[in-house]
């Protein structure tokens, strides 16, 4: 039992053991040194640089597509309109409905910010999803949280809280049970689960890729362990493809859930 429990630790601890397996501790794979302003509120590192790229790329693409936009779209304009149509048809339309057009800019920004931040997980030489750090998911989840509460209050007044906390059609006595649950699930767990879903997915994918990369690199040796390379390298390739898909899916799910929450705040009756 002791050997079983300590075996991975010994693998981990075999640093400098000369060609042995060494998995990096987690702060080596998610925490990056500051480029400038270390310790201050404007500390700039790899994560913030990726966030900046995740902002610049959609802005530039949409600007190029929108510059002398034509009635019959071609090339880049066509591509960006397809992206816009995707967000409108797959995220806004089923979750909010026709009046959801006002929230399109926010949802498009969310979608692209998350997607491009996630894509850096599989982009060579970056290999770090910006959303594997808690900062970006937390900010986005707080934005979604403030947004759906704001929309609910704006469209239904303070009655929004009443219909959210005291759902109609429930026997009066059950409110003792229902109201705390609703309070917890709607106003506390929602933003938390939004943030954690994105963060944990990306961190897990990142750890997976790091694990298989480390396996591939350290096993690329003359030792007997090289036989495992036959398994670990295809797994690395497969998981890279899988994470490519997950990057898109998480961006889609995050914006879809935000849209669902906003839609629920718009029409709290059902």
């Amino acid at each position: 039992m002791l050997a079983l429990l300590t075996a991975p630790m010994s693998l981990l601890a075999a640093e400098g053991g000369g060609g042995g397996l060494q998995f990096p501790p987690i702060d080596h794979i998610v925490i990056w040194p500051a480029w400038f302003g270390a310790g201050t509120f404007y500390e700039f590192n790899k994560i913030t640089a990726i966030s900046g790229i995740a902002m610049l790329v959609p802005v530039i693409l949409f600007l190029l597509a929108g510059r002398n936009a034509k009635l019959v779209p071609t090339g880049l304009q066509n591509t960006m309109e397809v992206a816009l149509d995707f967000v409108e048809d797959q995220v806004v339309a089923p979750a909010i409905g026709p009046e959801g057009k006002r929230y399109l800019p926010m949802l498009v920004s969310m979608f692209f910010f998350i997607w491009i931040g996630n894509l850096f997980e599989v982009i060579p030489s970056a290999h770090m999803p910006a959303n594997a750090r808690m900062a970006n998911p937390l900010i986005l989840a707080l934005v979604a949280w403030a947004m759906f509460i704001g929309v609910g209050v704006k469209h239904n007044g303070l009655g929004y809280f009443r219909s959210a906390l005291f759902p109609p059609g429930v026997p009066k006595a059950l409110y003792i049970l229902v109201t705390p649950i609703e309070l917890l699930s709607t106003f506390i767990i929602r933003p938390f689960s939004l943030a954690v879903r994105l963060f944990a997915n990306m961190l897990a994918g990142h750890i997976l890729l790091v694990t298989f990369s480390v396996l591939c690199i350290t096993l690329f040796s003359a030792s007997i362990m090289a036989a495992v390379l036959l398994l670990s390298f295809p797994m690395l390739v497969a998981f890279t493809g899988f994470e490519f898909m997950v990057a898109f899916l998480q961006a889609f799910i995050f914006s879809l859930l935000t849209a669902v929450y906003i839609g629920g705040a718009l029409h709290p009756a059902h």
Binding site: E15, T48, S51, L71, P105, S109, R133, M134, L140
Partner: protein, 180 residues
């Protein structure tokens, strides 16, 4: 090795919690970049595309309506054409009928005229024939009577009165001619 392990464990326990957003810079820049992206999308990037999409929708709508009106117009024109065609066809058949009736009438008139003419001619010819036959018959009868009287006078060796026997001969000739 165990010493290393303990160092690592100590490192691990003192290391930064990856679940808590502890890096102020990442929070700050993430918020800045996201809100910048949102504002740019809202006011700069999306409006031209949304405008062109609305324009395209309007264009498609108006084109559809134009196609709709054009098709109803075409239908109207076709109906008009059909009506005109039917009218022309009726007119043509009417004219044809009229012409046929006129031709029929004229033909029957002509036929009747020709027939009357023919009948008149035939009557004339018959009359002429009768007249001539009567003349010839009269002449012949005279000759026959004379001859018969001459022959009879020769037979009886005495001159007979031709005028007395002419009635008998004429009567005979008439009877035999009537039998023929």
């Amino acid at each position: 090795m165990l010493a290393q392990l303990s160092v690592l464990a100590a490192e691990g326990s003192s290391s930064i919690n990856p679940v808590v957003p502890d890096n102020k810079g990442e929070l700050f820049w993430g918020a800045v970049f996201f809100f910048l992206l949102w504002i740019l999308m809202r006011y700069v990037c999306l409006p031209p595309l949304m405008r062109i999409r609305a324009q395209r929708d309007a264009q498609v709508q108006s084109d559809l309506e134009a196609a709709e009106t054009a098709s109803t117009q075409a239908e109207q024109v076709r109906r008009d054409y059909d009506a005109t065609l039917a009218e022309a066809r009726g007119e043509a058949s009417r004219v044809l009928e009229e012409a046929r009736a006129t031709a029929e009438q004229r033909r029957s008139q002509q036929v009747a005229a020709v027939e009357t003419e023919l009948a008149a001619e035939r009557q004339d010819a018959m009359a002429e024939l009768d007249r001539q036959r009567a003349a010839a018959l009269g002449e012949l009868t005279g000759d026959v009577a004379e001859l018969a009287v001459a022959a009879a006078s020769k037979v009886v060796q005495a001159p007979l009165d031709p005028a007395a026997h002419r009635g008998t001969v004429d009567d005979y000739v008439n009877r035999s001619g009537g039998q023929r």
